[in-house]
Symmetry: C2
Subunit: 165 residues, 2 copies
Amino acid sequence: MHTMVDFETQLRAAGLRVTKQRLTVLDTVDRQPHSDTASILDAVRRTLTSISHQAVYDALSDLTDAGLLRKFQPQGSAALYETRTGDNHHHLACRDCGNVVDVDCTLQEMPCLTPLDDQGYLIDEAEVIYWGSCPSCSTRSQPTPDQDNQQGTSRGERHVPRSNR
Amino acid sequence: MHTMVDFETQLRAAGLRVTKQRLTVLDTVDRQPHSDTASILDAVRRTLTSISHQAVYDALSDLTDAGLLRKFQPQGSAALYETRTGDNHHHLACRDCGNVVDVDCTLQEMPCLTPLDDQGYLIDEAEVIYWGSCPSCSTRSQPTPDQDNQQGTSRGERHVPRSNR
DNA sequence: CATGTTTTCTTGACTTATTCCAGATAACTG
DNA sequence: CAGTTATCTGGAATAAGTCAAGAAAACATG
C-alpha cells in the first residue's frame, strides 16, 4: 500500500513532474493491480472526470519507464499494470476468466535469471507467467463437487475471458 | 526439421483436413521460427500467391489449438509462432532488436510448473521469457570493445525494434 | 469417379488496443 | 510572477486481429 505523498516523492525522485493525472493513475493502479488500460481509464475518470485517454496512456508509459509501475501482457490480454516493482515476482493467470494473481519467485532472489545457456545474451529479467485454472473456474468445470468455496482471488471485475479460439 | 509428409500426417492425426494452405503455413513457420503473422503471410504468399490473410490467421489458430504450433507473444510484439512444441522450452528476447532465440528449460522436465504457492490454481504451463540484449546489440552499445563477433543468432530479418516508450 | 456433406477459404467490413500530432495548459525555475 | 518546458487535450490514424456470408475444396460414400 502506498500513499499519495509516497507517489509524489517517487515522481520527483524519478525526475517527473507531479501532476494530478499521474498521481491518480498511480493511486488507481495501486488499488487495483493487474488492471488493463481501459479499466484504469474508467477508474481514473471517477476522480478526474475529464482526463483524456492519451494522458492515461502517457502516464502509464512514463511511469513504467521510470520504474514506478510494472507492465506485463499475458497472451490475448491487453497490457496490465501493477505498482509492485523490482521484486521479481511472477504471475499466475487463469485461462478461463483471465484473472491474475501474484506469486513469489520459485527460487530465491533474482534466480531464474540464469538459463542453462544464455547464448551470449545479457539477461536482465526473467518474466514468468504460470497458466492454469483459478479455483472458481476449475471447480465449475471439474466434475469434482468437492470444494464449493468461491475464493476471494477473482474479483470478477473486468478481464474479458479470452476464448481460446 | 520436418517434411511436408510429416505435416500431412500430423494434420490427419489431429483430425484436421489437409490443405495446401495449412501445409504451407506449417512449412513456413518451421523454416522461420519465431515469426509473426505478417511475415508468415508474406512468406506463404511467395508459394501461394493469393492466399487470404484470414486463411493464415485461421490456420495459425487451428494449428495452435491442435498442438502442431506453439504461439507466444513477447511484450510489444505481435504473436509469434514456432513448430517446436511440447518440450517446454523457453525464450530469450532482445529488448533492442526484438530477436528471439530458444533456450532449454533451466531445470529438468516440466519443472518450473511448480511455484512456491499455487494459490489453488491448477497450473498446466509455465511460460518464461528472458529479457536482455543479444550479442550484437550489447556489443554495439557497451563501451567494452572486446568481443567483436557478430553472432549468428540475429538473422536481422523482420522484428521491428520496439521503442520502449 | 460422381455426389453430398462438411470444413476451410475468400472477401471485405469491423473492432480493439495503441500511437501520432498540433495546439492548449499546467509545473517547475529563477 | 513570468518564462520555459513538460504534460495534457482532442481528434485522427495505424496495426493486429476478428466477424460473417457465400464460394470452393476435402473427405466419405455409393
